[in-house]
């Protein structure tokens, strides 16, 4: 994979680099290790000093407690629904639009594409006040659609997919045209399968973006049962929680981060391959 690793005479340099990166990685893990450590300490001890984290007693109570407070499960579920919804929506819309802008000609297409590209410069926050008013007027807040739909207006996916479709050799669709395939069939059967690497990339970005989105869910999902994990975790880290339930808070943070992290670990190979192996010949 790595282009230069087999070139003779670069071993020592490589070792040095590796050592440095390992060191950085250890530093990178420090915050999580610290959080993990705190999560195994009784709250009452941490209230006096977090230095107690370095010696026993340790306890699993904080984790056991999570099962008693149903909030986290519900929030994780909401986040999953929202993130999957956003991801699927973006993939469908961006693929269709990307194909359209790259391949399916119609009058005014190029102007529309430029107008859509301009949308890249519009930050979500610039429209959030007006958007909140819109959804308020429609009485749609505190629903999954309200949390999901705004994410689908992002132009990033369309831009990415358009670029990707443009990079596919045009003679493949021409061959399909000669094979009597309809526009949609060319899109669906011939070109879409070739964009799987781009779909993976876009899908990962969209999923993470939705999972980590904070501002919009914060003002749209205001009922606790509609909280995403992001908003839910914000609601737990009050000053009070930090002073009186630090260990529990840390356990919640670890627990809330765990599912998506595990999913990530499972997909990691695929993610790297998907992002990297985009070349089609």
């Amino acid at each position: 994979m790595a282009a230069s690793e087999h070139i003779v005479g670069r071993g020592i340099g490589n070792k040095l680099i590796l050592f440095t990166v390992v060191l950085v990685a250890v530093i990178w893990m420090l915050p999580i290790a610290w959080t993990l450590l705190l999560s195994f300490k009784p709250n009452s001890e941490l209230m006096i000093s977090t230095a107690s984290a370095f010696h026993p007693p340790y306890t699993l109570k904080n984790y056991a407690d999570i099962f008693q407070t149903s909030g986290v499960f519900r929030w994780l579920w909401n986040s999953a629904v929202v993130s999957v919804g956003v991801t699927v929506g973006i993939l469908v819309l961006s693929s269709l639009a990307g194909y359209g802008f790259a391949r399916a000609e119609f009058k005014g297409r190029d102007i529309i594409f430029v107008l859509v590209l301009l949308g890249l410069a519009v930050p979500e926050q610039a429209v959030i006040i007006a958007r909140h008013q819109m959804f308020s007027d429609l009485k749609m807040h505190n629903t999954y659609p309200a949390i999901i739909l705004p994410g689908l207006s992002s132009a990033f996916g369309v831009f990415l997919m358009t670029q990707y479709f443009k990079a596919i050799p045009k003679d493949i669709d021409e061959a399909a045209m000669l094979d009597n395939a309809s526009r949609f069939k060319i899109f669906w059967k011939v070109l879409l399968p070739l964009t799987i690497p781009a779909q993976a990339t876009l899908g990962i970005f969209s999923f993470l973006g939705a999972w980590n989105d904070y501002l919009w869910p914060l003002i749209s999902a205001t009922k606790p049962e509609m909280f995403t994990i992001t908003v839910g975790m914000a609601s737990t880290q009050t000053n009070f929680a930090q002073s009186e339930g630090l260990g529990f808070l840390m356990a919640q943070a670890i627990f809330a981060g765990l599912p998506v992290f595990v999913v990530y670990l499972f997909f990691q190979k695929y993610i790297v391959r998907a992002v990297a192996g985009a070349a089609i010949s």
């Binding site: 209230m47 008693q68 205001t222 009070f240 529990f248």
Partner: protein
Amino acid sequence: MRKLTTALLASLVVTAGASAALAADKTEISVARFFGACEADYGTVTDVTKANGECGIITALINKFNADSKTTVVKPEIVEWPGYDQLTARIRSGEPPVISVMHEAVISDYSSRGLLEPLDDDFAKAGVDVNDMTDAARQGVTKDGKIYAMPFDTHTWLWHINMNLFKQAGLVDSAGKPILPKSTDELMKQAQQFKEKTGKPYFISTLANETAFYTRTFDTLLYQQNVDFFADPNKVNFSSPEAKNALQLLADIFSKDLTTKNQDYAASVSSFAAGEGGVFICGTWLIDTYDQEAKKSGALANGYAVTAFPQIYPGSPRVWADGHSWVLLKQDLTDAQRASAIEFMKFLWDNNYEWSRTGHLPIRKSIINSDQFKNLPHRGDIASLAVNGTALPSAVKRQFSIQEIEGEEVGSAMRGDKPVDQALTDAESRINELLANAK
């Protein structure tokens, strides 16, 4: 571990099923509150007397209500403190909670926009004797002649004292009482003495990440000098020598290292418990927590005292105060829901003593005067607060935003990021700008 998980999951399912079954024939009302989440420790506690601390007591209170009430299920919705941003968004979205906790300082912003239900008639019907409310509480929840909330407590600013360190610093008198400053000079002198004797700062203060300390302390220092900075409710006035004195005092405390610095709320709470300073300037709500701490071995062991904010200016003993209260948000409620909401408020009214165990002052004269309350630890030391606690005039709009701005500017000056005069001018112009644009 596996067994544990299974058991926990099973109990979860059972609880969920049970509460669903209960909810079926009872009216459910949502109650938004802060005070933190502690279902883990108090999720099943219905005996309120066994609960401690704000979070524990409110959780147990609601549990008890749900267990006792034959008509109502309260669904607690725990929000981030102070939670008004989200409450705002929720009201705007048309789905507010039925009841929300609200600082008395904030009520007028909502009531003046018709977002709250007046409660006089409901209280009368439910048998809540409003004449039993303390003056502070009744003023706090009454706007334009109507009662808009069920008061829950009056909380004020006071000094938590580590007697063990005070002893070490030679600041305890023969009667075993802490020696407290009676003027600014004494304050500086005693603080210096404390620092020299113990090697620790006199004050522990919450200077990071929130502005409450700055506003509440500064307001108190102004009250002590009889400064009425909101003589005109639409215009703040900080351009007085008194204001400058007060702010300069805070800046001196900081620059002379007489306080811990950089601590956020959690850090300051725990550092007082860990004995890292003599005086923690904070609120009533920690009294119970530290009292429990004093019963354990540790820096506070048998050495916790609490006192009203000492009067270091000759004006008056008034001190910043606010109150928690419960409001009924205007929305389409069924009669049953409204009845349930009032039932819950009445329940809180009836159990106000339990809440006062946190350290907050009760809102009922009958409780303040009861032996039960007086016998709670340290309550004699702070009885004066019920009288001296002072809120902003209720005609002042946007009190929370004002306190936020005031705190930011006072903080900037105290930490030396800004000259004192500049901070006062900025605070004044920002607040007046806010008020000029406020409806």
